[in-house]
Symmetry: C2
Subunit: 115 residues, 2 copies
Amino acid sequence: MVEFRPSQALKLLHDLSFAMVRDGEPDLSARQLTILLTIYLEPPPHTVRGLAAKLGVTKPVITRALDTMGRIGLLSRRRDDADRRNVVVQRTVKGALFVERLGDMLMAKAKDLPL
Amino acid sequence: MVEFRPSQALKLLHDLSFAMVRDGEPDLSARQLTILLTIYLEPPPHTVRGLAAKLGVTKPVITRALDTMGRIGLLSRRRDDADRRNVVVQRTVKGALFVERLGDMLMAKAKDLPL
DNA sequence: ATAGAACAATACGCCTCCGAAACGAATTCC
DNA sequence: GGAATTCGTTTCGGAGGCGTATTGTTCTAT
């Protein structure tokens, strides 16, 4: 349970996104970030179709986001051997580090918030 | 002062971005979101040059972001009468509501976090 | 075996975005 | 008043994203 005022919450969000921009982190869109966090926070397996259904977007949106984030190493893809129509999204070390850094930055910013 | 564990912070971030995607909010990039929050959280005036310097990006990045977010009504621009080379970014009702909704969503998600 | 369904990827035309460079307008400096 | 500076925008070629529709592959049902 976390106590928050809206202005504090917004400042936290601003500080985080600001730090991401200043530090030259990849300029992810809300969709891309959501996909990334879903993959790293929710239990696998994650498929293109499953992600599309969960986020309420079309499958090409997922495919393209996986293309882009895969290109910069934040995740990878593997064909599902049980059903070779499926593609399973896999976590990578780089992606895990990126998400972890995000969490640490959030923590650090939250600690600086005035009560 | 806010108590946080990294996993909680990440879940909060995920829940927020997830809600934005599901609700069909504009798919803002980290840069765009940072610009928007800077305009609405920090005291005016905000100029193209000032925002570019603060975020560490080039001026065309700011111009384009203002183009896009202005097109959907989240902000507007006005020529500075004192020095007509400058452009002053202005808040809009729609933008203020959008940012306010963001804060409310963050609050609501934070309340649901397990201790 | 073959028709149908399900899956991810691709093609299409259009729009946004990128960094670097050039631009026009406004101001400041001598 | 003329040159230099400052400001925001625009241009350029190239890259990525969009939604819709289609493709190729794989599985399922008959």
